[in-house]
């Protein structure tokens, strides 16, 4: 009860405080939703390379004539596979932090906080009006004005709604601004990784080794079976997909940087947004493209 009275008193003060517009909050929420699965993309490149390394390794192992060496090679392939997946998991965990940040933005910008409150305030108004009507019928005293309950309900709803929206806006502004430098550092690290000569060398090496190992397989074992030839072509196409994935992830990381920078601008300005900001739109399209490439890769397996 004390809280309600306090809210009523605060309502006049709160209405003067600025909160983000509905479209600004929706922009934060949309950004959070699109970024929520970003971590999957950087590690997917390493996973793809690991898969290629394993399969081309099997071609090579089949060319070894000594059973012990053959077995040792298979053991080494297995140990390399475990290592590769551990690395990919490490990358995944690092970028899940970005997902976590994005998901926390979705939660913070949720409209659920005030939805229940509005329903409750409306019910409160109806209950109050029935009471007033009953009072007016039963009492001989001066009649109370009709519709006062609805008005009171609106005040309760409005005050609570405004209070939460102002608090929500303050927090969104604070956190999005604080996170900008951190997002910039993380995405810059990611770009350094994606554009490094080491990664380029690893990809280019796998490309050459697919061919080299298959040639050794053809030279030292019977001619390729229909199945092995098909697998050789699949390996080549998976490598192309890994290259595409790398290019797309580079672009979307740059777009993510630009989109977050724009998000900071959006929450700092007092404005209504009539359409999606260009930088955000470009980022969303880029993410959709990566998803398609990843889905195509999964379909191949």
């Amino acid at each position: 009860m004390r809280k309600i009275i306090l809210l009523l008193l605060l309502s006049a003060f709160i209405s003067g405080c600025s909160s983000l517009s509905k479209s600004q909050i929706e922009t934060v929420q949309q950004f959070g939703e699109v970024t929520s699965n970003f971590s999957a993309y950087p590690s997917a490149i390493m996973e793809e390379l690991a898969e290629i390394r394993l399969k081309r390794g099997l071609y090579y192992a089949s060319t070894l004539t000594d059973p012990m060496r053959h077995l040792d090679e298979l053991d080494s392939i297995y140990s390399q596979k475990k290592y590769d997946y551990k690395v990919s998991e490490k990358i995944d965990v690092t970028f899940r932090v970005l997902d976590k940040y994005a998901q926390s933005l979705v939660l913070l910008s949720s409209g659920d906080y005030t939805a229940n409150l509005q329903n409750n305030a409306a019910e409160f108004g109806v209950g109050m009006d029935s009471l007033v009507n009953l009072y007016n019928v039963k009492s001989n005293a001066e009649k109370l004005p009709a519709g006062i309950g609805e008005a009171l309900g609106k005040i309760v709803g409005f005050s609570g709604d405004r209070y939460i929206k102002v608090k929500q806006s303050e927090k969104i502004k604070e956190y999005v601004t604080k996170a900008d430098t951190l997002v910039l550092i993380m995405t810059s690290n990611l770009l350094e990784y994606l554009e490094s000569s080491n990664l380029e060398e690893l990809i280019s090496y796998e490309e050459k080794m697919i061919r080299r190992n298959y040639l050794t397989y053809l030279q030292l074992t019977d001619t390729g079976t229909f199945e092995s030839q098909r697998e050789y072509l699949d390996l080549k196409s998976n490598l192309d997909a890994a290259k595409d994935l790398k290019a797309l992830t580079i672009q979307s990381t740059k777009d993510l940087q630009a989109a977050h920078k724009e998000l900071v601008q959006v929450v700092q300005k007092k404005q209504k947004l009539h359409s999606t900001i260009k930088e955000l739109r470009v980022f969303y399209q880029q993410v959709a493209e990566i998803r398609e490439t990843l889905n195509a890769l999964k379909k191949d397996k």
Binding site: T65, L105, I164, K167, Q168, L199, Y205
Partner: protein
């Protein structure tokens, strides 16, 4: 042959090409074949070592700086929980008033007020 001498995969590939091509030569003596196979396996072990070194270098750079954003995400989640708590408190307070209104209505109906 070790990773100290061959640092790039490109250089390693040259050695692999030579050994693998030699392995496919027809008419090799069984002894030569065994020696070439051993050399080939050694090269594959060097390959895995270089791949691990390069991958480690890549990942080390990446895993820095994630902690600060992780902490901020935790802080945001706590704020979201607090907001939900405030909304719940307001809802609770308005429920108490609603209950009070019901009691008052009953009391008026019964002529107690």
């Amino acid at each position: 042959m070790n990773t100290e001498k061959i640092k790039t995969l490109e250089k390693l590939l040259d050695s692999i090409e030579i050994v693998e091509n030699a392995r496919s030569i027809e008419g090799l003596s069984p002894e030569d074949r065994v020696q070439l196979e051993k050399a080939s396996v050694s090269l594959r072990n060097v390959e895995r070592s270089i791949i691990r070194i390069k991958t480690n270098e890549l990942v080390e750079k990446l895993t820095h700086d994630a902690q600060a954003l992780d902490k901020l995400a935790d802080e945001i989640n706590r704020s979201a929980e607090k907001l939900a708590g405030v909304a719940k408190a307001i809802e609770k307070a308005s429920n108490i008033v609603k209950a009070f209104v019901k009691i008052a209505a009953k009391a008026i109906g019964a002529g107690l007020i």
